[in-house]
């Protein structure tokens, strides 16, 4: 990288100082704490963490997490692409309001999101009793946890897709349309390929949030071990029951998933800026 002015010794010292401060801060805040968790988890060998994670409760938590993510992320992906198209390609009254509402899940505390669902679907909520009478339990059960996951991961795909749609413009869609393609053909062959990396980036972010959501899910789950416990809730439960090996092991699983997400983020971000 060419630097225009020749570095003076004073400049070099300053630069070195700033680097030490930045890296030291990151080490103390991020790197060392995460590293310690890895060391502590495996200090007694692979046995204890493996045992904790393959316990019935651990396994159930893992599958329940996948169920929540597996429902919430695809739904929000379809919604996200649709909402981005509507907000970028259409003109209508109330667009600003719609645009603002999409950001709300970012501005709201997870606990408040949980409370909100409780007040609609809980026993004393708006429609909770009616649903219970119909044999549908939402709160303290999987549907409520899925709803909480959908709520918290809602904005990601919209927010990552909108700028890409804006940037590509609609000339190619115009051309396809002039050449006789119908709306679906244009979408599948022209629009979707052009926005795919933006969508992929949004999906990765949404997945990370959905996998790790604790607050909102914790309020609606009622924490029944082996029943309404996702991996993040399992971590907390093991920790408060002084089962550190279990807490660390589940945390490691989540941390490894986070590393995969981080890797995905880097790839998709690069693809997006290359495209």
């Amino acid at each position: 990288m060419p630097t225009a002015s020749p570095p003076t010794s004073e400049g070099r010292a300053q630069r070195y100082g700033l680097r030490v401060v930045a890296l030291g801060y990151l080490a103390l805040l991020l790197v060392i704490p995460v590293a310690i968790i890895f060391v502590r988890t495996f200090e007694d060998g692979l046995g204890p963490p493996l045992e904790a994670i393959t316990s019935p409760d651990g396994q159930h938590a893992f599958w329940l997490t996948l169920v929540c993510v597996g429902i919430a992320v695809p739904l929000n992906t379809v919604f996200g692409i649709l909402a981005a198209l509507v907000l970028v390609r259409q003109k209508f009254r109330g667009k600003m309001i719609l645009n603002t509402i999409i950001d709300l899940p970012f501005a709201i505390s997870p606990v408040v999101i949980g409370l909100a669902l409780l007040l609609v679907y809980g026993r004393n909520g708006w429609i909770g009793q009616d649903l219970l009478d119909a044999g549908i339990q939402v709160i303290f059960s999987t549907p409520g946890m899925v709803l909480a996951t959908i709520f918290v991961s809602l904005p990601f795909v919209v927010r990552e897709t909108m700028p890409v749609l804006q940037e590509i413009g609609d000339e190619q869609e115009q051309a396809a349309s002039t050449l006789g393609a119908n709306a679906w053909q244009t979408f599948w062959r022209v629009t979707l390929p052009a926005i795919r990396w933006g969508v992929a980036y949004g999906v990765v972010l949404a997945t990370a949030r959905a996998l790790g959501e604790y607050g909102a899910v914790s309020v609606v789950a009622g924490r029944i071990s082996g029943e309404t416990e996702t991996l993040p809730l399992f971590v907390e439960n093991e920790f408060t029951n002084f089962n550190l090996a279990g807490a660390y092991a589940a945390a490691i699983v989540l941390a490894l998933l986070a590393l995969v997400v981080l890797f995905g983020m880097n790839i998709f971000k690069r693809k997006e800026s290359d495209a």
Binding site: M1, S5, G11, Q14, L18, R19, A22, L23, Y25, L29, L30, P33, V34, I36, I37, F79, A83, V86, R89, Q90, T100, I101, I102, L104, F106, A107, I108, S109, P110, V111, V112, L115, A116, L118, L119, V120, F151, D170, Q174, A175, S177, A183, W184, T186, F187, A208, G212, E213, Y214, G215, V219, L231, P232, E236, F239, Y248, L254, A258, M265, N266
Partner: protein
């Protein structure tokens, strides 16, 4: 467009048919989804907070325990905003202007707090700053632990806001200032900082909004001691558990209005500054 291009007429704009069943249907589906998932639940919180009248609402948010929780939340959020403004800008500067081995890895590490589940964040901080701290720094169940956890989860906001601006910034101005004899400190303060300020403010606002509502990373590390380490989100959770949803809803609405107002103000500032930059 030049006159000799007149023979080549611009292609006529055709109206593209909207996929997903046309404009109206798709717009309806998006509105319906947002209403069911987001708006109805939030309306339930608002209704519940006011169901016993404004007097009860006011009482719920001015009762000593909730005042203490809200105050603690605001103060810790302001502290982390100040630290993030400085450290976030500094880290962004190092990542853009400095060059060293492993910079790419450090750069991707910045996003770790967004990828790592919040409960795991709390657990990891407890490993270094908890009762079994290898460096003998036990901050568990203190106010310092709150600040630490909030710093962890909000780390990326300012860095990621400042970084792209710093890459784009025109270095000629800094070089001109240097050739006129300005000191490095002076160049930073009078040339670089004014360019970065909008990005720093934007990152800080996002960090502040996040800190106001943060819950997961605080659960394990703060110990939830009323009047001591109980932040607003933990207080709301406690109210829900002790079956006092009306008072939980009131404090929730207070938090909500605060962070929505903040994000709204941020949008206005962004619009204002982009208009002035272009004008």
């Amino acid at each position: 467009m030049a006159a000799n291009d007149a023979t080549v007429a611009p292609p006529p704009r055709v109206s593209i048919r909207f996929p997903f069943g046309g404009e109206l249907l798709s717009r309806g589906v998006v509105t319906l989804w947002l209403t069911v998932i987001v708006l109805i639940p939030l309306a339930a919180v608002l209704e519940h907070s006011l169901q016993d009248g404004l007097g009860e609402f006011w009482e719920a948010i001015t009762e000593p325990e909730s005042v203490a929780a809200i105050r603690l939340t605001l103060i810790s959020s302001l502290i982390i905003v100040a630290v993030n403004a400085t450290m976030g800008t500094l880290i962004a500067w190092v990542l853009v202007r400095d060059d060293f081995r492993g910079k790419g890895i450090v750069n991707s590490l910045i996003d770790l707090p967004f990828a790592l589940p919040t409960i795991v964040a709390g657990l990891t901080l407890l490993a270094l700053y908890g009762p079994n701290s290898p460096i003998g720094a036990n901050l568990a169940y203190t106010k310092a632990a709150i600040v630490l956890a909030l710093l962890f989860v909000t780390l990326p906001f300012v860095v990621r806001a400042v970084q792209p601006v710093l890459i784009e910034v025109d270095r000629e101005m800094e070089e001109a200032a240097a050739s006129l004899g300005a000191s490095r400190r002076r160049i930073f303060r009078s040339v670089l900082l004014p360019n970065l300020t909008p990005a720093i403010v934007a990152g800080c606002a996002l960090a502040f909004a996040r800190a106001l509502g943060e819950y997961g990373s605080l659960v394990l590390i703060t110990g939830n001691i009323p009047f001591e380490t109980q932040v607003a989100s933990v207080y709301i959770f406690g109210r829900i558990e002790s079956d006092a949803p009306t008072s939980a809803a009131a404090v929730s609405i207070f938090l909500l209005v605060l962070s929505v107002a903040l994000l709204f103000a941020l949008n206005l500032v962004a619009k204002w500054s982009s208009r002035h930059a272009n004008g």
